[in-house]
């Protein structure tokens, strides 16, 4: 036994004498860190790195089978799913690993921001981190293209349409993004190059620089209210803290990182196993137009924002806001490199995170059910509720057929079924008078197209008489206030003629009849 140990030590010394890396790396791993940051809040960065390694490994495995050609990509994905043993599981790991990685990177970023850890001397660490976030999102977008299905095809179309809004060089940029005049083989090839060579290379190099700077400046200490960061004193204070309370990062602090990384990997495996891989959905044949393209989860919020921007604002917002937002994130540590670190003394920081998180959450939620999109088959698949057909005249029933036939349901709900683009019609007659409904139907307005060309007078008459029966739970129908006013005015005149002998306290003219 003793001899075996000696041989082992000799082999290690032979290797290390030639390599010279093992000792410095183990020394770096065991560098002293303030005991107050050995916290469960400090585990997200290492978890993101572990997920990156998982993505690289599963990505290499997928590349053994995947064919980055517009002709074959979709087929090779289905081959992976159905014909290659465990191909579905590797695809699922890669897909879920991607979602987990974005989530963990975002959480890591929020934690660093709220803890003020981006302040002196870690400004550049933050800036590189922002670049890493953008590269991670770039991996997610290009990865969505790798899944070369209908959503990928039309997603590329959305990308090209956004790029085409750049002034002057829009057309050239579209060609550069697509690799040619149309979405096709050249497009997939260049996104494959980005996804497999360019962005991963930058990502790994960036992570290297990021981790190097973490080692150089030490893991940031736990923020305390009132303990301000000053460039003149911070590093001395940090070193004093390390000397006073320091403990080796490995193993005293790193065991939490290791446990969390294992938990995350287990979660990815569980999701991959139980929920399976993402797609591919329909084949990327542009002539199959019965499709409602949608981006992956982490881009749903952008998809939602694009539905709500007014046309005139769209191009400026699309081109300016991302630039300002990214510049703001990059500049943050340069603008606020000193001062308070604790979140309890940084209300603007907490408020910003809250507002951004709630906004992204709401837009993402909206993106999951796209209330702004017409439901393309509602007119032929969702019947008018039976209760709206009871006790209706033949004309009104004819109107219900017009409502159905003219595809009104694609945008309007009845009894919570149908499109949500326009308002639900269950109580439309309590909001609009007959005249107003006629005008709205024929001329459109607001967000509604005009149907004057698509309806003849008898259809219009039937439709409006049906709509007039839709009064919710027998609410009062809408009334034309101006008519009532003119009638009241007449009554007032009549009353004033007879006011000489009328009793005091006569109902005032404005009172409801």
């Amino acid at each position: 036994m003793g001899r075996l140990k000696e041989q082992g030590i000799a082999a290690y010394q032979w290797l290390e004498h030639r390599l010279g890396l093992i000792k410095p790396i183990s020394e770096a791993a065991a560098h002293p860190t303030p005991s107050n940051n050995a916290s469960w809040w400090y585990v997200f960065g290492s978890a993101a790195t572990v997920l990156l390694i998982l993505q690289v490994m599963t990505g290499i495995l997928l590349a053994l089978i995947y064919s980055p050609s517009a002709n074959e990509a979709w087929t090779s994905l289905n081959f992976l799913n159905h014909n290659i043993a465990l191909g579905w599981y590797v695809r699922a790991l890669h897909g879920w690993g991607s979602d987990f990685m974005i989530a963990i990177v975002l959480i890591h970023m929020v934690q660093v921001f709220l803890f003020g850890a981006y302040k002196f001397p870690r400004e550049l660490t933050w800036i590189v981190g922002v670049v890493l976030l953008l590269l991670t999102l770039g991996m997610a977008f290009t990865g969505q293209v790798m899944r070369f299905d209908q959503d990928a095809y039309w997603g590329l179309g959305i990308g090209a349409s956004i790029v085409s809004r750049v002034p002057f060089v829009g057309a050239q940029l579209v060609h550069l993004v697509l690799g040619g005049p149309i979405i096709g083989g050249a497009t997939l090839s260049r996104f494959f190059t980005l996804h497999v060579f360019v962005i991963p290379g930058l990502l790994l190099a960036g992570v290297g620089v990021h981790v190097w700077m973490v080692l150089r400046h030490g893991v940031s200490d736990w923020p305390m209210p009132g303990r301000l960061v000053r460039k003149s004193t911070y590093e001395r204070e940090y070193h004093e803290l390390v000397e006073k309370t320091g403990m080796p990062f490995v193993p005293d602090a790193a065991w939490k990182d290791a446990v969390f990384a294992a938990a995350i990997l287990f979660a990815v495996m569980a999701c991959a196993f139980f929920f399976g891989p993402f797609g591919p959905s329909g084949q990327p044949d542009p002539t199959i137009i019965q499709t409602a393209p949608k981006p992956d989860f982490f881009f749903l919020w952008i998809y939602a924002v694009l539905a709500f921007l007014p046309p005139a604002l769209e191009t400026p917002v699309l081109l300016i806001v991302p630039v300002v937002g990214i510049a703001g994130m990059l500049m943050l540590p340069l603008i606020a490199s000193e001062g308070e670190r604790h979140w309890a003394r940084r209300p603007v920081a907490v408020l910003s995170v809250s507002v951004i998180a709630v906004s992204l959450g709401i837009f993402t939620r909206l993106g999951t059910y796209t209330p702004w999109s017409p439901v393309m088959d509602a007119w032929s698949s969702d019947a008018v509720p039976v209760k709206y057909m009871h006790d209706r005249t033949p004309l009104e029933r004819q109107g219900a057929m017009v409502l159905q036939d003219k595809q009104c349901r694609n945008c309007h709900e009845l009894d919570r079924v149908g499109g949500q683009r326009g308002p639900a019609l269950d109580s439309v007659a309590t909001r609009l008078t007959e005249d107003q409904i006629v005008r709205q139907v024929l001329q459109g307005g607001g967000n509604m197209p005009a149907y004057g060309n698509a309806l003849n007078p008898s259809e219009t008459k039937a439709l409006v008489s049906f709509l007039m029966t839709l009064r919710g739970n027998d609410l009062q129908p809408a009334i034309d206030a101006s008519r009532e006013l003119t009638r009241n005015k007449q009554m007032e005149q009549e009353k004033s003629q007879g006011a000489a002998w009328g009793p005091k306290g006569t109902p005032s003219p404005g009172q409801k009849q």
Partner: protein
């Protein structure tokens, strides 16, 4: 010695002794600088064609691609109706597969007049669908809507549908197709100025062929 070699270029550094300045001006330092310059020149000569290759798709020549292509017999499209047609993109290359197929909407206004609309919504390029009963094109992505003549009806698009140039050659309907139609690349599409955004009711629409 090594502290002198740290700054071989900064010979004007007053802190350096004359020996140090001399050290920074040896023949080897000069040759090294010359070699760096040589590499800069070689690098530039190497880089120009590589960047040209990279930016190839964006070059001016290629940005007005396209040609005339038949999308079917004239009689396939009854007067007064709007139908889906498809063609293989004339600019497709060897490995485009199914993505080389392009759909478009053909509206036959009269015997000799057509309108050929791009499938791509003018908002963000999603495929619009024709609804003949309500006489509208609807986009599934963000709810853009267009009238039967392609003009904007409602929703986020800032203009009407893109139109292809067409001509009738013998018995077939021929359109000029090339670029995927976007706001910037409609070279192959009809020149149609951006419409003014205004209330929907104020727009005029052609009803000439309707009974």
């Amino acid at each position: 010695m090594s502290e002198f070699l740290k700054y071989p270029g900064e010979s004007s550094n007053d802190a350096l002794s004359p020996e140090g300045k001399a050290q920074a001006h040896t023949r080897r330092v000069f040759l090294f600088k010359l070699a760096v310059g040589l590499n800069a020149v070689v690098g530039a000569v190497l880089a120009v064609p590589l960047i040209g290759y990279l930016l190839g798709p964006a070059s001016r020549k290629k940005s007005s691609v396209g040609s005339w292509i038949s999308i079917g017999e004239v009689n396939d499209f009854p007067v007064g109706q709007t139908r889906l047609a498809e063609f293989r993109s004339p600019v497709a290359t060897f490995d485009d597969g199914e993505t080389a197929k392009v759909p478009c909407w053909v509206r036959r206004v009269s015997e000799q007049t057509f309108q050929v609309f791009a499938i791509n919504c003018a908002h963000l390029g999603c495929p619009v669908r024709w609804f003949s009963e309500s006489k509208l094109f609807l986009c599934p992505c963000h709810g853009g809507a267009y009238y039967e003549d392609g003009s904007r009806a409602s929703g986020p698009p800032e203009r009407g549908l893109f139109e292809y140039k067409y001509k009738i050659a013998g018995n077939s309907l021929v359109i000029h197709a090339g670029d995927m139609p976007t706001l910037a690349t409609q070279a192959s599409c009809k020149d149609k100025p951006l419409i003014q955004i205004e209330p929907v009711a104020a727009e005029t629409r052609s009803t000439t062929w309707e009974g």
